[in-house]
Each structure stands twice: as structure tokens, then as C-alpha cells.
């Protein structure tokens, strides 16, 4: 194979950091969720790359990736449900305004 494992891992790392920025720096709740999705994708790329390069005969890599899909889907569903509930009760989508835990 012409592309070495490290390249994939770097791309994944870049994607992960982009997602991280999205989570930390955006104001809209949905935008933050999208950042989280980017991070999960990066993780999946990592998993599949490792599977392909290090142990392609063991299915654990792909299985793990599938489980991560499942978790991502569940989390997206619940997260958006929460988002809609908050929107209904507080009429805002900006996370900065949700600071009930302020000390």
C-alpha cells in the first residue's frame, strides 16, 4: 500500500482538532453537536485505519467502529431532543445563555 498508516492518522487528528474547535468556540448548540460528530468521525477513521493496517483478519476493528456509529446516533438523537426541549422552555439556542450552574 502506498499510503502509510501515519497519513490516515494525521488526517484523523486534524479532523478531530477541527471538531474540538467547533465544540469549544461556537455559540449555537447545534453547531457544537456538529463538532462532536466530526470528532466521532475522526475516531472512526482511526479505528478503521488501524484495523486495515495492523490486523485486517480480526473483525474487532470494524465491530468497534459500528458500535461507535451506534453511540453517535444515540447521542445525536438525545442531544437534539434536549436541544429542542431547552429551546421550548427558554426560547434560546445560544449556549452562553444556559448558565444555571453558575457559582
Amino acid at each position: 500500500m502506498d499510503v502509510s498508516l501515519t497519513w490516515y492518522l494525521l488526517v484523523a487528528a486534524a479532523l478531530f482538532c477541527m471538531g474540538l474547535y467547533g465544540v469549544l468556540a461556537r455559540r449555537n448548540a447545534v453547531a457544537i453537536l456538529m463538532g462532536v460528530e466530526l470528532m466521532l468521525n475522526a475516531v472512526n477513521i482511526n479505528l478503521v485505519a488501524f484495523w486495515r493496517y495492523v490486523r485486517p483478519d480480526a473483525m474487532a476493528g470494524q465491530v468497534f467502529a459500528i458500535i461507535v456509529y451506534t453511540v453517535a446516533a444515540a447521542e445525536a438523537a438525545v442531544g437534539l431532543a434536549l436541544f429542542i426541549a431547552i429551546y421550548r422552555s427558554r426560547d434560546t439556542v445560544v449556549v452562553e445563555d444556559i448558565d444555571l450552574m453558575k457559582g
Partner: protein, 166 residues
């Protein structure tokens, strides 16, 4: 440069471009579409990695379901979204620095410290990977599989309960 490398670079570019759009665009719709673009890129990377099943699943689930979900959420809250308002918060500078720092650390580790850590496997791809995957899911990994289904069920119920009209 071989074809594979070219394709890899193209796909990575698509993925990262999509990610960039997600994190910087003020218009949330455009951000969501950027997310979709990124997902397609990742699907392509999976295909390049000989994980065809995962590529299809990626398109089905992420593009087909999760993206739609996100777009729904955006549309349901259109009213309060001010398109011209600033889309990043006060700590964006520090966040950018932190992200870059993380990337730097990981990159340094990958390039200089762990370059030969992972022995590339000599055994090739199994003959029928999808069959093996299916078998693995219901035999060796049956428990995580079932737990995942329970998780989905719980999430489903929870989402419905949370987002219900009172």
C-alpha cells in the same frame, strides 16, 4: 505519486474542507451541508481502506439519518437564529490555540515518536470480510451488539420523552 495516494489526498481534502466549513461558517445551514460533505469524504476514506460495508453504513447513517436530524433541528429553531450574529464565543482565540496545540502534540507523536510502532500486518484482507463481520457481530461480539441495541432503544425512548409536547 500513485493513484492511491492521489485519491487519498483528494478525499482527505474533501473531508477537511467540510470540517472547516462546519466550524467557521456563520450560516448554520451551510455548516450542516459542510458536515455532509465531510461525511462523504470519510466514507470515501473507508472505501479506500477496503472497509466497503462501513462506507455504505457511513453514508446511510451519518448522511442519511444524523445529518437530516441536525437539519431538522436547525429548521425547528429558525426563529431565534440571527444570521448575522457572531457565531463564535468569547474564548475562540484560546480554543484555536488549544486545538492547534493538540494537533501539534499528536502530529509530533505520530511523526517522530511512533513512526515504527505499529507493525504493518502482512496478512492480507480476509476473503469474505462482510461475512466474517456478520459472523463476528453475532458470535464473538454478540454482547456489545445487544447492548448497543438496548442503548439505541433507551436513547429513542429518552429522546421521545424529552422532546415531547407537554
Amino acid at each position: 505519486m500513485s493513484i492511491e495516494q492521489f485519491v487519498f489526498i483528494a478525499l482527505s481534502a474533501i473531508t477537511l474542507l467540510g470540517g472547516w466549513i462546519v466550524i467557521t461558517n456563520r450560516n448554520l445551514y451551510r455548516a450542516a451541508l459542510g458536515l455532509v460533505l465531510s461525511f462523504f469524504g470519510v466514507a470515501g476514506l473507508y472505501a479506500l481502506l477496503d472497509a466497503g460495508f462501513l462506507a455504505v453504513v457511513q453514508v446511510l447513517i451519518y448522511v442519511g439519518a444524523i445529518s437530516i436530524l441536525i437539519i431538522f433541528a436547525i429548521m425547528l429553531t429558525r426563529r431565534v437564529m440571527d444570521r448575522t450574529a457572531v457565531q463564535h464565543n468569547a474564548q475562540w482565540g484560546i480554543s484555536a490555540l488549544v486545538a492547534l496545540a493538540l494537533f501539534g502534540v499528536i502530529g509530533y507523536t505520530l511523526l517522530f515518536r511512533a513512526a515504527d510502532q505499529w507493525a504493518v500486518s502482512s496478512t492480507g484482507l480476509p476473503e469474505k470480510p462482510i461475512e466474517m463481520l456478520g459472523e463476528a457481530l453475532v458470535t464473538t461480539y454478540a454482547l456489545p451488539f445487544e447492548v448497543a441495541s438496548v442503548l439505541l432503544l433507551v436513547a429513542l425512548v429518552g429522546a421521545i420523552v424529552i422532546a415531547r409536547e407537554k
